[in-house]
Symmetry: C2
Subunit: 234 residues, 2 copies
Amino acid sequence: MVERDFILGDVPGVLWSPVSGAERAPLVLMGHGGGTHKKHPAMSGRARLLVDGCGFHVAVLDAPGHGDRPRTAHDEAEIAELFRARAAGEPEGPIVVRYNDHLARLAVPEYRTLLDALQELPEIEGPAGYWGINMGTAIGIPFVAAEPRITAAVFGQHWPDALAEKAKQITVPIEFDLQWDDEHISREEGLALFDAFASKEKSLHVNSGGHKELPRFEADSAVRFFARHLGEAA
Amino acid sequence: MVERDFILGDVPGVLWSPVSGAERAPLVLMGHGGGTHKKHPAMSGRARLLVDGCGFHVAVLDAPGHGDRPRTAHDEAEIAELFRARAAGEPEGPIVVRYNDHLARLAVPEYRTLLDALQELPEIEGPAGYWGINMGTAIGIPFVAAEPRITAAVFGQHWPDALAEKAKQITVPIEFDLQWDDEHISREEGLALFDAFASKEKSLHVNSGGHKELPRFEADSAVRFFARHLGEAA
């Protein structure tokens, strides 16, 4: 696949595309997890599945305070507070929920601008998808709620607190991942966020295991989900 | 695919196999839903996915009182009671749970005898799978709990009452389907049965929609599950 780096305003991003790029193909935007970046192996690995498997284009932005973007004093303070809570054995949820909500308010307009820009490219066509787990869900739910051009989305592994009201505005097909033995997000919290989506077609995939043990085969499932909703699988 | 009818003792069954049958291949036993039979389209359709997609052999028995088997006075009485409750708008669960438990006690030894017989065939090898939803789960959970030769199973859509204790004895990988808007089985009941399995690797697939609206793509997912656990996908 072809990798193109870009800067959108002052936001660094990456666009992955099929090598043979004559025909127009759908686009999937992805959001990375907290503490990682646009080219983390979870992003490039999922992009490869979508590009090689479906011929789609895939784009990711560095989230505010992540990857090649500067951290503000607020970022530093929230990260320090998260590490302090983690070391003290206190729940991470309240801090992650609050910080991710802050980042989402900054990132949603960036993703909308990204979609404007990419839909100008001759090789990209039609409706688009969104795929983000963890912080990628915290950014993705308000983004998809605000963005009628996104017609299918894969989310998962987040608390409902700041997101359930936005999820109620989403009606496009979704697939949602949660871990049955997540040490941070309770079953009730995970199920409550899934339940909130107004989508007529929604699927929940629960797997045994902890927060970081989402099975690899769920990435394959997400790719088949996008193939069903955005176009042909190869 | 090749279809072979057989009678095992006095139990009619069907075995579906690949046309080109030189090499040995794994076996998936299936259990049909309540009120249907071994060659219901849900059975032959799933068999075709397993045979054509994976090269597996697939066998189904008519459940007691179903298909080509005679109904006893007890069967007639329970079916009449179910229809009466349905017409009166009363919950079906208590009757289905009780009747399926009765049928499972008869069917489990039949499935164990079936496995004995089929593993004698030169074209069938190694560990086997089990796939049954609804009544197929009511029969399948006690069968798999008792049968160490079954190494992977797909279940779903049943009440936990008569099954949770047996599910606690199951440790092989499972995939479990439930419908989020099931008019007969509550979310709490469905989740409780999934939760009961002792399997280290277990996946729950929840989809929006009512009891009879399990999406077709869950059959494709089950086939990939068996391909992962029993052998190669074609």
